[in-house]
């Protein structure tokens, strides 16, 4: 699996590359700014790009915009965005296209290399990896306005892990329940929320995320 890394801090860039290579991924390019990312993506045609949100020259959301631009330049390019902080706003912008192959994680997550590499692989395969912090805030907000009032506590837990982009097997492992139980809860959740059930992990996540954010005000302008 071929990866391009865009990260301006040398230590992190180097560490990321070594970690990914240690887990058998091939790092075909590591760059430190948005323009080079676009060049590297069109030259190396990677399976996934791992991009830091803050990149020179502006050190604002340069990386996010570069990631979205890279996805437009190479349609369907899976992108995993890393950040020191996560914002629902940015998650929504990344998910706005409605395709899979999107990840949005806190930089802290690289400390658990196994989980992180799993997220990279999942995104490269067209799946989704949303940071638990994004999801928990989404759920707090949805709980606040009564969107999830119909769900049981266990169903909410399943919904939370599912929204991160995990498969049924991963949910079962995390919550220490059987996969059958997960499937049962999932069906119940989709029924209660009035969503189309889907066996495809990715479409299922997108449907859940769309549902959770649907009650939110869209961009007003």
């Amino acid at each position: 699996m071929r990866v391009v890394i865009a990260e301006d801090l040398f230590l992190l860039r180097d560490g990321l590359a070594r970690m990914l290579e240690a887990h058998g991924l091939e790092v075909t390019g590591s760059v430190d700014n948005g323009a080079d990312l676009l060049a590297a993506v069109s030259a190396a045609r990677p399976d996934v790009a791992v991009v830091d949100v803050r990149l020179p020259p502006t050190f604002t959301d340069e990386g996010l915009r570069a990631a979205l631009a890279a996805r437009r330049a190479a349609p369907g390019l899976p992108v995993l965005v890393l950040s020191q902080y996560v914002e629902q706003l940015y998650a929504r912008e990344l998910l706005a296209e409605g395709h899979g192959g999107i990840g949005y994680l806190l930089k802290d997550r690289v400390m658990d290399s196994a989980q992180f590499v799993d997220a990279v692989r999942r995104v490269a395969a067209g799946g989704t990896a949303m940071d638990p912090e994004v999801i928990s805030r989404l759920l707090v907000r949805s709980a606040g306005d009564g969107t999830l009032a119909a769900l049981s506590r266990r169903e909410r837990e399943v919904l939370g892990v599912m929204a991160e982009g995990r498969s049924n097997a991963a949910i079962a492992q995390r919550l220490v329940i059987t996969e059958r139980a997960v499937a049962k809860h999932t069906a119940s959740i989709f029924l209660k929320l009035g969503l189309q059930p889907s066996d495809d992990d990715n479409r299922r996540v997108l449907a859940v995320l769309a549902y959770l954010s649907a009650e939110q005000p869209g961009p007003a302008d």
Partner: protein, 480 residues
Amino acid sequence: MSSGTTSGGSPARHARRPWLAASCAATARLLGLYGLLLAGAGLLLALIAPMLLAGALIGRVLTRQAAAVAISATPGGKGTIFPPRAVGPNMTGRLAVSVLLLLAGLAVTALLLPYLLQAIRGLAWLTRRVAADWSGVPSPGRELPPPGMYRAPARYWRRLGWLLTDPATARDLRWITLNTLLGWIPLLLPAGMIVMGLVGFLAPVAGLPVPPPAFPGNSPPLLVLIGVSWIFAGLESAPWLLRAYGRASRVLLAPAGQGELTARVQHLAQTRAEAIDTGAAEMRRIERDLHDGAQARLVAMGMTLDAAGQLIDDNPAAARALLLEARDASVRALTELRDLVRGIHPPVLADRGLADAVRALVLDCPLRARLAADLPGRLPAPVESAAYFAVSELLANVAKHADATQTWVDIRYLDGMLRVGVTDNGCGGADPARGTGLRGIERRLAAFDGVMAVSSPPGGPTAVTMEIPCALSSLKISSC
């Protein structure tokens, strides 16, 4: 600002002097000030003389022409000295000359205007100092030069522009007119009375005729008595009139717009003090948070890693557990740092500006919240930050106290003013006088001359509106 070093200027010296010397000095000083008044009258005359002259000429021509027309229009026109046909062109010519004269007068005035205005200002400065020194009334304070006048020499038009836009110029003109018209009364009165008294004293001796109204009776002892009382009255009134003149000059020559400036300075001093206090309190909070949070965790991590290093050969399993513990500690430290940074300057605010930062707030808000934002560009960073934290605090208030199900945030920029409204459908009853949160927002906004209005009747709804005057600093860079 009375300067004690100038000769006899301080009130203390006035008090120590014998009465006669003090009164004579006061009389002389009044006469000295009268000299300044005459100079001012000359300047005022120079300012209006060209126009006065031309006006008088035109007036004369017009009256003559009117007379001529009246004569020619009488039924017995034959008896007129000038035949009307001969008068007409002659008079028109004079009128034309007069108009030219008027224009020339105006031109001369315009040409001299900056210099005259500066001379008047110089005279005002001199009068202010002299009157303050001599009368013992403190000077009204230092006047700044007109805007731009620090830099000499400049072109005529720029000088004129500076002088005409300076509010002190109107003050100078007001002062010089009043001083010329009325100032001579207090300045000449004591000297006049003394002269009258001396005349009454000396007239009988010299055998001069004595004016009757001042000296009724005209008998020598009475004349002497009246003369002495005139001199006494003149000397007695001199110090008093000098102080009165000093006070009047102080009022009339006070730096222009001082009242507004005083109020402004008070406002600025108060908001600056509050801004400094707020800043210092924030610094202390950040220091404490770092000290108790991330720093302490890093120390603990170091110790854990050290322990792991010692155990790694003998007891790899325990070392491994310690390493995992250290990793968890680092995660917690990162979380704390992230929260701290969010409280100092939220990254999304730096990245995207106020509208998107508030959008992010609204997305995280546990209530149903709606945002309408219309900002044509980025605002100055401090204003963005103040508005962001105000909205953040208000939304937290709504979530905590209002018992509301819905909030609306409205952000727009109109006519140099950022307007932010936060409204909810909750129970109302918010009172800025009681809530420290609302009061804190008000204080922070005041540092930008911003204001906050709270409408929160019991039973709701609550509407908070904030206005901050500011300029847009850059064009919109992100379009999402």
